[in-house]
Symmetry: C2
Subunit: 185 residues, 2 copies
């Protein structure tokens, strides 16, 4: 018997390959009937919203485990650099796992999720600002732009994996190094 979490996992994997999949397709991918899927999640919205929540849970956990608040507050350059490295490395893995939530249309119209996204983004931006203050990141660009750039590189990393251009294993250092040092020689 498939547990709710199993179903959620299968749905996530399938939506990662086709973000517009119908309930029927999701059920089939999860190896259960459409009726059973509806017993777990009354409406498609509820399923997708829950995946969105989990994605944000993961993002928040990644921020927590990297300790961005404490690291930012410390003002210690070395510590901030390590923290950024740890967080981005984990975020690359998260982006791979939660792929479709990065760009999903529906999730961008869900006020509750949107607000939480903003909160997490702001938290991250505060960290980038602290990194600027500590001399780890350049000060001549807005901290919010740095946040967007990091997001963009995560989208790029997902794309690189999907198109088979980069092995998942090599990706994190690539993203990290591009984020910090750019593409210039």
């Amino acid at each position: 018997m498939a547990t709710r979490d199993d179903v959620l996992g299968a749905a996530l994997r399938h939506l990662n390959t086709d973000a517009t999949a119908s309930m029927a397709a999701i059920a089939e991918a999860a190896g259960i009937s459409r009726a059973t899927l509806h017993r777990h999640f009354a409406k498609r919205e509820a399923l997708v919203r829950e995946l969105g929540e989990r994605s944000l849970d993961r993002w928040e956990r990644t921020q927590d485990e990297a300790g961005i608040d404490a690291a930012g507050a410390s003002g210690d350059a070395e510590r901030i650099r390590d923290c950024a490295t740890a967080m981005l490395t984990q975020l690359v893995a998260d982006a791979d796992e939660f792929g479709f939530t990065l760009v999903d249309e529906f999730l961008c119209t869900e006020p509750a999720l949107l607000e939480r996204t903003d909160r997490l983004f702001d938290r991250e931006v505060a960290f980038w600002a602290a990194a600027q203050d500590a001399g780890v990141l350049r000060r001549d660009v807005p901290a919010r732009w740095i946040g967007h750039a990091a997001y963009g590189l995560l989208v790029a990393s997902r794309d690189a994996i999907r198109s088979g251009d980069v092995a998942p294993r090599d990706l994190a250092p690539l993203v990290l190094s591009t984020f910090l040092d750019g593409a210039s020689a």
Copy 2:
């Protein structure tokens, strides 16, 4: 009387704010009736596909006008750097105008468009590879990754504009400088 191009333009602008807009919504945004919209584009697919084509036209034109083939073949570092700057600056504007085509689900499932996208991407990657050979870009990352990273930063630029975090006018230098030099101090 709204010309076909007017309709296409209005559709593009509206789809940039809501990529899942119905034909009814698009018609209303274009200031015409649903019937007239259907006279211009028999099916929604046809409308979106044409916008995809135009987006690729623009991408190709931007590559052409920047002269990436000749610049790449020249092997001249200065020339390549200027070319990259010109192209990326234009691509930021293109990404703003053609926004939704960057991430649209449907366009990613249309074989014809997909193939053309690949061709243009490959062409650009060849230019990045030439930039590596000329010592303009670092050689320790795959050229294809550089291509993905550039794409990711375009997504980021669109995001930054939409969320109002960066003025459109400031965006190009920001993207360019982040692409080349990264976020590091």
